[in-house]
């Protein structure tokens, strides 16, 4: 299913796209258990193409856990995550719930530059650029924990972008944004991907998936049940689980029907 993914016509061809060291991203027989519960249950997926891969599926399917496994925050009980050929990859993770320090917005963003060993001036310049990108430059010195939910999410995105990651894991980056901010953030994400960053995007916003994704992985009960080009998966899903999710059926009825 995951073999050849054709280029997405919605993205302008970019011959200068640098080779991305995080590709191919291979998840082989991933299993993750929490207590008696098997959350990820033999997940296989090979993401070979650059651009944006959407990871979709019902609540509790294991999308966030999969991102944590890819980032290395969780260790699989079985199976492997292989990122590229094993060379170090700059990665960034935007969590579903933004976690910000009780400090200024700028300091929160600059934190992501700490491991890069940049000069102060360079850090400050990049921080400002990242804040400008998400429309928060005028709030740079405000305490981050006083931001609204949507502002916090944008700030967390700025922190994810500032280190120029090669692999960017986005867990519902626009879940609490207003339409204008959503549009802006989608543009930023598309631009990042065109710049050569591999993006894994978890989203329940199917319009957004259709607008942004090159390929789509459908997760159900901890397994990848479908993986293919966006248009095919979103508009002609092959599996019952994918169809049920995309049609907006409640997953528990879908599972009952599927099993």
């Amino acid at each position: 299913m995951s073999a050849a993914i054709p280029p997405n016509p919605s993205l302008p061809p970019n011959p200068s796209l640098p080779p991305n060291p995080s590709l191919p991203l291979r998840l082989d027989g991933l299993v993750y258990r929490a207590g008696p519960k098997t959350i990820i249950d033999g997940l296989d997926a090979t993401i070979a193409a650059p651009g944006i891969t959407a990871l979709i599926g019902p609540n509790g399917a294991g999308k966030s856990v999969t991102l944590r496994l890819i980032d290395g925050l969780l260790r699989p009980d079985a199976g492997t995550v292989r990122i590229g050929e094993g060379a170090p990859v700059r990665r960034a993770f935007l969590f579903q719930r933004p976690a910000l320090l009780r400090a200024s917005a700028a300091r929160n963003v600059a934190l992501a530059l700490a491991p890069l060993g940049l000069e102060r001036r360079e850090r400050a310049a990049r921080t400002r650029a990242a804040l400008a990108r998400v429309g928060l430059l005028d709030r740079a010195d405000d305490p981050a924990t006083r931001f609204s939910g949507g502002e916090q999410q944008r700030l967390a995105l700025a922190r994810a972008l500032v280190g120029e990651p090669q692999l960017l894991l986005l867990d519902e980056p626009t879940a609490s944004l207003d339409p204008a901010a959503t549009e802006r953030i989608e543009a930023v994400v598309a631009e990042i991907a065109r710049g050569g960053t591999k993006v894994i995007l978890v989203s329940h916003n199917l319009g957004q998936v259709a607008r942004l994704a090159d390929d789509v992985v459908v997760l159900a009960r901890g397994r990848a049940v479908e993986h293919g080009p966006m248009a095919q998966v979103v508009f002609q899903p092959k599996t019952a689980q994918a169809r049920a999710y995309l049609k907006g059926e409640l997953p528990w009825t879908a599972y009952a029907a599927a099993s």
């Binding site: 980032d71 925050l73 976690a99 320090l101 934190l111 992501a112 491991p115």
Partner: protein
Amino acid sequence: MVETLAESVARLASLDREVVAIAWLSLRVSLTAVLVGALAGIPLGALVAVVRFPGRQALVGLLNASMGLPPVIVGLVIYLLLSRSGPLGPLGLLFTPAAMVAAQSVLVTPLIAALTRQIVADAEAHLGDQLRSLRLPPWRRAGLLVFDVRFSLVTAILAAFGRAISEIGAVLVVGGNIDGFTRTMTTAISLETQKGDLALALALGLVLIGLVLLVNAAATILRAYAVRAYG
């Protein structure tokens, strides 16, 4: 009773030099001990909260239990260490304010470490994955979490100060309650009560309570001020 109180107030009003000296010593000893306890206990507690290592649970249990260390036992151990025949005897610190600082430091360090560990662990549940994902080394994560909970740590510091300034067992055993040298508020109150100088005991008691209130009020005001700036 009323007479005693009146006399106490009179002695307070005249700022009896003896009372001032005793109060100053108590304050100095306890604040120094809390400073030492914070310098040792905050990093210790934060690292225990952040780093996973074998035996961590046991250490957490030990820290929590040692919040209840009886002061007089701590005093006794420090006494044995500092006594003439003890390993630290040559330092000649027994029955000096330094010995009292040492004993109170031992008393408050586990308290501060245990409270810090709990406070930092709660913050870690919220921020830990984010900081790990940023690939920050453990000491840096611990530092950032301490920074994040800085306002809550004020409470831990105040608890430590309260324990230090109001304990009597440790300072009595290692300080010896020497008039004009190692006599603190608590040892003086105990002594004056026994001697029957209730007015002085009560005056000292009022000063002790006043000191505790003052330090707490100062910390609360500072904290509120800082929180307003960086909630």
